[in-house]
Each structure stands twice: as C-alpha cells, then as structure tokens.
C-alpha cells in the first residue's frame, strides 16, 4: 500500500512528539509558559483602558453640560438628547443640578437640587456622615454650612428665599447627613430635584449637569463636538483636568505593559531557542543517520519545523487558556474587577506561538542540518 508523502511526514513528526513525550514536554512547557505570559499581558494591555477607566471614574465627572451662551439654563429634554449621544454602556452617571441662593437664619447659602442617586455615582469621592436624603424634606449639607449654622444629622432648619416667580418661600428640612469633599461642595445644601422645584419652582430647568463617562480623552472630545453641533441649548465640555490626566496615566501604563510584553517575548524566544538547541544537539546522531539515509537538508529542517509547529499549536492553546487565567488573577488582584475573555486572542496566541517557536528553532535546526552524516559511522 503506497502512502502519500505528507502522510508519512506527519507520521514521523507526530511519532517524534508522542513517543518522545518526556523530552518534548520540556519544550512544550517553555512554549506554553511564554504563550501564557504573552497572552495574559496582551489581555491586560487591551483591558487596561476599561479597567482604569472605571478606576478613574472615582475622581468624579469628566464631562459637564452647561447651557449655551445665549441661555441661562438648559431644559431637561435637551439634556436627555445630549446624553443620548453617549453609549449607555460607557455612562457611569449623569447628575443634573439646579442652584439658587437661599437664606438660613438670614445668612446666605447656595441650595442645590440634584438627582442625588446619580450624584452618588458621579461624585463617589463625597464622604457623607449620616446618610444620603431618602425622603421628601431631607437635605444633605456641606461641612462648611454645618459649621456655620451648627447643624448635625437629624437637625431641622428652615430655608427662606424667593421663587422663580419672585414669591417668597419658607420651607423646613431635616439634615440627613453632612458631606465632606474637600472642595466647594462643602458650602452647599443638597436636596432632591423634586424638593428643590417644590421650594423654588421652575420646572424642567437645569443649570448644569455632571457626567461621568468611561471613555478616553480623545473619544470624549469627539463626542462633545458632535453634541455641540447637534443639540441646541446645550454645550458639552470635557473636564480637561481629569480627562487629559487620565489619558496620560493610561498611556504610560500601557507603554509599561507593552515594554514588559516585548521583553517577555524576547525572553520566550531565547528560552525556546535554548531548549530547542539542546533538543537538536541531543539528536545529532539521528540527524546524521537521516542524512546518511539520503535526507536532504531541507527535509531535515522541514521535520523539525513540523515538530515546532505542533509545539507552537499545543503551547499556544495552553497559553491562551492559562493566559486568561493569569490576566484574570492580575485583574482581580490589582483592579478588583474581572476581565472578559477575548475569543480573538486565542488564535492570535496560537499563531504567535507557532511563529515564535519556528523562528526560535530555525537557526539551531538550520545548523543541525549541516551535520556531517559520517558521524554515524564514527559512532559519535
């Protein structure tokens, strides 16, 4: 029965791998470890913006919506339209605010009506002693206000002022908590938008909206431009201080991981090349025998490359699986968040493993193919 040439070639390659498995295991381990670290680092490299983006959101809003120059406030519908230009998956929170100067015991303060549930998302750095307002008639007061009028959580106080229609109002509130931010927020009295509208009137009017979005600075600039061109009455402004510093940190972090990945890649190649050099040196007599039997240099190289391709495939598959586990462990320990498996990374890792293994082996194998067949007669 005649056997096709490539079928016997495959038989020789697979027999060498299977029947010499204890030797091949070392080479496979070298490839798999390299592929694991490589695949893990690439996963982390591409996941860093997502992970860090979420991390950066703890610094507060990176996009604000303000009324256009010709208007003194925005209406809620325009704000909704502006927000619709952002991907819902990227939005961490959007907090509309209304402001009014009011008096407590004849002393002037700034009252702010806000979507407080959203404020907790856009301003996670706020430290509240007590609790956030949950019922009608509850307010969160800044530390500065609490110090001036000597209020504590649970204290009651009255706010007086003029409504949007210039009618006087007086309304009682209970302090649910005192907020510390280390910033200007400590001079404010925060309440729900409903309480604010009941107190001061002016439905549907928004003075400013803070938005926390998990995207890069460049993307934020792009979306802001689109919003400004398409939504009347609203101006979107990225908070440059935050978005640009985020970009800089991200870039530096990615560069670091990139550098480490390249170093690991080189180390993997050296490790695989060294292992393969040892494997080739060990098989000098076999190579000499094959040449004595009439094998050409190309046939010898093809056999070794065939073995390396298989090693690359198996090592790459192991690397893709363990690389995800490695990246997951790093992500959970460093960012306290899990990562998602990128299916495309598996074939990329396998392909990279094949190329790295074949490249690392090519020189030692090429040199091995030059072995003098006479060594088999000399009994070396």
């Amino acid at each position: 029965m005649k056997m096709k040439r490539y079928a016997f070639y495959l038989k020789m390659v697979t027999s060498s791998l299977i029947r010499r498995r204890s030797r091949m295991f070392v080479a496979l381990l070298a490839v798999a470890v390299g592929a694991t670290i490589l695949s893990g680092l690439i996963t982390i490299y591409y996941d860093i913006p997502r992970q860090m983006g979420k991390e950066f959101r703890s610094y507060g809003a990176n996009l604000i919506f303000i009324p256009s120059e010709d208007k003194s406030y925005m209406d809620a519908d325009s704000l909704k339209k502006a927000v619709s230009y952002l991907s819902p998956d990227d939005i961490v929170g959007v907090t509309p605010y209304r402001y009014k100067t009011v008096k407590i015991n004849e002393q002037p303060f700034m009252a702010a009506g806000a979507d407080l549930a959203q404020a907790a998302k856009t301003s996670p750095f706020w430290y509240v002693s007590g609790r956030w307002p949950q019922k009608e008639g509850e307010a969160l007061i800044g530390q500065e206000v609490a110090d001036i009028i000597r209020l504590n959580a649970g204290s009651q106080f009255f706010i007086t002022g003029m409504t949007a229609n210039n009618k006087p109002f007086k309304r009682g509130f209970t302090v649910s908590g005192i907020v510390q931010t280390g910033g200007s927020e400590e001079a404010f009295i925060f309440m729900s938008l409903a309480d604010f509208e009941n107190m001061a009137g002016g439905d549907n009017a928004i003075d400013i909206a803070e938005c926390s979005v998990s995207v890069s600075a460049a993307e934020l600039d792009r979306v802001s431009k689109i919003i400004n061109e398409n939504v009347e009455g609203v101006t979107a402004r990225p908070v440059k201080r935050i978005s640009e510093s985020e970009g800089t940190v991200l870039k530096k972090l990615q560069s670091l991981v990139y550098l480490v990945t390249v170093v690991i890649l080189l180390l993997t190649m050296i490790c695989v090349a060294t292992t393969m050099m040892a494997a080739v040196a060990e098989r000098r007599r076999e190579i000499g025998l094959k040449k004595a039997l009439g094998a050409t240099n190309a046939a010898i190289v093809a056999e070794f490359i065939g073995e390396d391709v298989f090693l690359g495939i198996f090592g790459g598959l192991l690397g893709a699986a363990f690389g995800f586990v490695f990246a997951q462990a790093v992500s959970i320990n460093v960012f306290a968040r899990s990562i998602t498996f990128q299916p495309l990374l598996a074939p990329i890792t396998v392909f990279a493993s094949i190329i790295i293994t074949a490249a690392a082996c090519f020189i030692p194998v090429r040199r091995a193919a030059e072995i003098d067949p006479a060594i088999v007669l000399r009994g070396e």
Binding site: M3, F8, S15, R20, K290, K291, A292, G294, T296, A374
Partner: protein
C-alpha cells in the same frame, strides 16, 4: 565495468595521512571485506566509499560517476540512490517502529510503500515484529531491521560497518546468511569487520594498515601481497 573504483586515493587531515595511495576496485555483485586494526583508516575508507566524505587526492568512481568531484548535495543523492548502509550500532530511529524505520528510507528516497517495506522485513524474518519500536527489539532484530532498511531501495552497493560487531553467535549466523543470500542474488557488498570468520565469507579481504593496503587476500584462492 567495475561498480566501484578507488584510484590512488589519499585522505589527509592536517599532518595525519588517514589513507595513502589506495587503489581498489569492486566488481558488480562482488563481496569484499575490509579488515585492519583501529586507526588503520577503515572508517575513513567507508566514509569515502559511502559518499559521506571525499578524498584529498585521487578519484572514486561509483557506477561511472567520479564522486570526488561532486557537491555534497549530489553525494547525498548518490548515497540515497546507490548505497545501502548497515551500521554496527544499528542506528534505528528510536521513535519509529521497525516498519516505519524501513519506510523512512523509502521516504527519503522516493515513495513509501508499506507492503514492500513489510516484504523487506519478512525477508530478514521480522514480519511479526514490524510494529515494534527499536527498544522492544533485541540487538539481532535491530540489526536485521537495519539490513531491511538498507535493502529497501534496491541499492547497487551494500556497505556494512561491523555488521556483526554487537551480535551474539546465533544472530551473527542469521545476518551472515542474509548477506550470503544477497550476494547470491547479485548484490555487491563491502563489509568492514574485525571478525576473520565474517571476512572469510567474502570473496576478497582487504587488509589496511597505517592508511595503506597491506594485503589483499582472495578467500577462494591464495593470498596476494599488495
């Protein structure tokens, strides 16, 4: 026409003259033995006859081709097409079965034919051991696989380096019987051996000493000094 002719060949490594002015011819279907002490140049001569080395001086004509002028690529092709090698250490590929070892020689030569490879193993009495790995075969069996591999491509010349050197008496007899049968069928055989009994089976014994042919003995007739 002779199958092999060595004309005034010398092989020099630096100051060492491994072979000096060797003249020898091997006819079609002839069986000769090469004997000599260690360092006498037997292996160097084997390498040259086996197209694995070239002489420093002189010419080697194998089936009409002067191999001393050929490239290593051409020498590989000549070795593959015209010579069957048998080694003292057997040199089987340890991860291939007996059958696959024979087929490997076919693979490097032309087309693998499992049936033909099995027939070659049958010829050396190893058809039932075809699927065994070298590590599962005795020394004698390994040598017979090595012979089957050497025969598979129908070589013009069988070159054997101490083919019975690692075998017990029983296996030595089996291997010699195979050689006798090959010789009867018309194969040319060159055997390097230390064993006078093995040499005695050949038609001529060439004795090498210090890189020179000191004696050529016609095993059927009288001795001839060179």
């Amino acid at each position: 026409m002779n199958l092999l002719e060595l004309k005034n060949i010398s092989k020099i490594y630096g100051d060492v003259k491994a072979l000096q002015n060797i003249n020898l011819s091997v006819g079609q279907g002839e069986w000769i033995a090469i004997m000599g002490p260690s360092g006498s140049g037997k292996t160097t001569m084997m390498n040259i006859i086996g197209c694995m080395d070239k002489p420093s001086i002189g010419s080697v004509i194998l089936d009409g081709t002067d191999i001393s002028k050929e490239s290593s690529k051409k020498l590989t092709a000549l070795r593959r097409d015209k010579i069957g090698l048998i080694f003292q250490q057997f040199h089987l590929i340890n991860y291939l079965t007996a059958l696959e070892n024979v087929m490997a020689a076919q693979y490097y030569h032309s087309i693998q034919d499992e049936k033909e490879a099995l027939e070659a193993l049958s010829r050396v009495g190893l058809a039932d051991r075809a699927k065994h790995l070298p590590s599962q075969l005795s020394g004698g069996e390994q040598q017979r696989v090595c012979i089957a591999r050497a025969l598979i491509n129908y070589p013009m010349l069988i070159l054997a380096d101490e083919p019975t050197g690692n075998l017990d008496e029983a296996n030595e007899a089996i291997v010699l019987d195979i050689f006798k049968s090959l010789h009867k069928e018309g194969s040319a055989i060159v055997v390097v051996t230390h064993d006078p009994e093995v040499a005695q089976e050949s038609e001529r014994t060439v004795i090498l000493e210090h890189g020179k042919i000191s004696k050529i003995k016609d095993n059927n007739k009288s001795e001839a000094l060179c």
